[in-house]
Symmetry: C2
């Protein structure tokens, strides 16, 4: 571990490991938002915030915030953070690393600041049991509406009631909406293999992709696989296979075209009846399409619509469903903050590269109300949302040091 950094890497690492230990012991690492374990983690976090002389509160949207005031209230707030909740059987770094690195950056500042500085643990970034992700950052950006508050979990509790239960105040939800943030910085593990494969210290995020989910159902006829001639078939599986192959080809071409990060995936494919001696009568495919450039995704979805219809007709099957399940717009990271992070990294001697975030993050919502940027640290094999998720102690320390340097420079501006 480099010992010339202005942050305490060992303390940072110890805190990440300590928070990770607050897990459902039956399925490490699990700290689901709104659960008793999650509240236990937040109580632990609040103590760490207080030890760092931060004033702790939970905002109306349920976000845990540690704040130190600045000498010049007119300058507004610099905010750093991420989230402490996990997916079931998740890892020790996704979200957590960003919260603890933010804390480390702030507690290692050796001077008072003109700006107020806040460390935030956003509520429920991961898809929650209420069917919504990024709950806290939606609230902070004014994008948590009454319809969402009415979402209900399996036990019948409404999301609004759950937010209130963990310390929020949804009757005053508008108070969660911030207009004083002059900069938001989020550190996160990459959840990909670009940095690792290129042996680069840190990633400067250009944009957080928009995500379109498309569900297609091909309806054919479940005929006898032996007796039905090839010419008389209505094979839904073949239509699905041709569509998947075409999507892979088109997405690869677009990804190579220099128009930013673009990926498309057929992660879900289900055949019915899925029996060796029966022609597939029905096939359901879900495509996940992510683009830095929203126009590219829009054209891609339109082409998927027309091409899947053409493939269905050629295969003699009905394309009985083509549904855009969801469609979020990309969020560009603020160019000035990206440059600031780049300079901060260079000053400290870390190599960087620019890359898009293929995953969603709280920063995408915060970017709607404030200049925002993200810093990626490498993670082993790109593995995430799994117990084997791993980031090196040195990488986390490097990230925290860059956050600290960026805050120092922001405050001096």
């Amino acid at each position: 571990m480099r010992n010339d950094l202005p942050v305490d890497g060992a303390r940072l690492w110890a805190d990440v490991m300590a928070l990770a230990e607050i897990t459902d012991p039956a399925q490490p690492y699990t700290r689901r938002s709104f659960s008793p374990r999650f509240l236990e983690g937040r109580a632990w976090l609040a103590r760490r915030f207080e030890e760092a002389s931060l004033k702790v509160h939970i905002d109306a949207g349920g976000n845990l915030i540690g704040r130190r005031d600045g000498s010049d209230p007119a300058r507004g707030t610099i905010m750093l953070g991420s989230h402490s909740d996990t997916v079931p059987s998740g890892g020790r770094f996704d979200g957590i690393a960003g919260v603890i690195a933010a804390l480390e950056a702030v507690r290692s500042l050796d001077q008072p600041s003109r700006h107020a500085i806040e460390v935030v643990d956003f509520l429920a970034e991961e898809p929650s049991d209420y069917g919504l992700s990024c709950v806290g950052s939606r609230a902070m950006s004014g994008h948590l509406d009454a319809g969402m508050l009415a979402y209900t979990n399996a036990a019948g509790e409404k999301l609004g009631a759950a937010i209130d239960r963990i310390g929020g105040a949804t009757r005053d939800l508008a108070q969660a909406r911030r207009n004083d943030i002059v900069a938001f910085l989020e550190l996160h593990i990459e959840q990909g293999i670009v940095l690792e494969s290129q042996n680069i210290d840190l990633g400067l995020v250009t944009a957080i992709v928009g995500i379109a989910r498309v569900e297609i159902i091909f309806q054919g006829a479940a005929d006898h696989a032996g007796t039905t001639p090839m010419t008389l078939r209505h094979d839904a599986g073949v239509a699905a296979a041709r569509t998947i192959a075409l999507v892979a080809d088109s997405a690869s071409a677009l990804a190579a075209s220099g128009q930013g990060h673009f990926v498309a995936t057929a992660g879900v494919l289900t055949l019915e009846p899925n029996a060796a001696n029966v022609v597939p009568g029905r096939a359901r495919v879900v495509f996940d399409i992510r683009a830095e450039d929203h126009a590219l995704a829009t054209v891609f979805v339109a082409e998927l619509d027309s091409e899947s219809a053409r493939i269905a007709a050629a295969a003699g099957v009905e394309r009985s469903r083509f549904a855009l399940l969801s469609n979020t717009t990309p969020a560009a990271c603020d160019p000035r903050l990206r440059a600031l992070l780049a300079q901060s990294a260079e000053t400290l001697g870390f190599s960087t590269t620019s890359l898009a975030s293929g995953a969603g993050h709280d920063a995408a919502f915060v970017s709607r109300i404030a200049p925002s940027a993200m810093l990626f640290v490498p993670c082993r094999g790109g593995k995430s949302h799994a117990p084997e998720e791993w980031a090196e102690p040195d990488a986390l320390a490097a990230g925290a040091a860059v956050l600290r340097e960026a805050v120092r420079r922001l405050d001096a501006r």
Copy 2:
């Protein structure tokens, strides 16, 4: 219903319906081999055989046989029949129609014959709970071996014990092997839509296809669908999709090449983890390949081997398994018996066409020890192995009449 036919169509239909009624009432139409319901069906059949003055016995392989002796024992036996067992929730015609039509053909003969004539209900043509199909016809053709007799059902009963329990005698299994059959004719519903789509009365089966089952597993990496660039993926689903599309193209070309019935189907495809935001890490496909010409199937499987390996390499995934799960040879129907069936149909004024059987049948085993042929009757929409399976009374009567005419001509030869 034509009333100029030398068979009693109404009696035939009533018997098919009566046997169909002997079903598990909870899931019509179910009469699983070796079950009490199956034995009840056979007891009913034995009474019908006896009413037709046939001598009834169960052979060593568990086949129920009704026999009338001929005036010239040296001429051997003409055998007609099919099977009375069903798949779970099957239909009223698959197998049953062939047994009752055989009975009707024989009981409507108005003269003694020189040949012995037998009506057979083969044991367990459908895949049985012991993991084997065509149990009775295997025994009759000498293809039921000791290894198969040791197959065990879920309750722990061995197949050999089950055969003995229903009246067979596996200690004398060699006695089931026949060498006196001079002709075997099996009527069966088509289980396809060739006859119906061409509005043809009866089908003359050229051959019963050989069936090859190939299992392929592609092993890739279950990476994040958002963060993993297209160029760094190991997408097992894309490899499977490309292979399925290629198989559909190749099989269609072969089917159109005039080398007999050829079909290939990807009926089973399973992705793991099958989640929208994860690149498929593993894909398992089972291909079912059926050909009248065994050489064609052999070449096809070899090409599937090399092409799937090529596709896997191009997709950056490992083809971790390529297994020929089973591979049966086609059974050609005897040309002289086919001609005889054609002449018999023509005499009675029925239109015919030649077609292969894409499904397996007892006749495939009997053809190894005796000249054998099959007669197909149309069935609605090609549906089979389902309660909606349907053949018209007229179609069954036509088939039985042709069987009767063929027996008459065989006996006169």
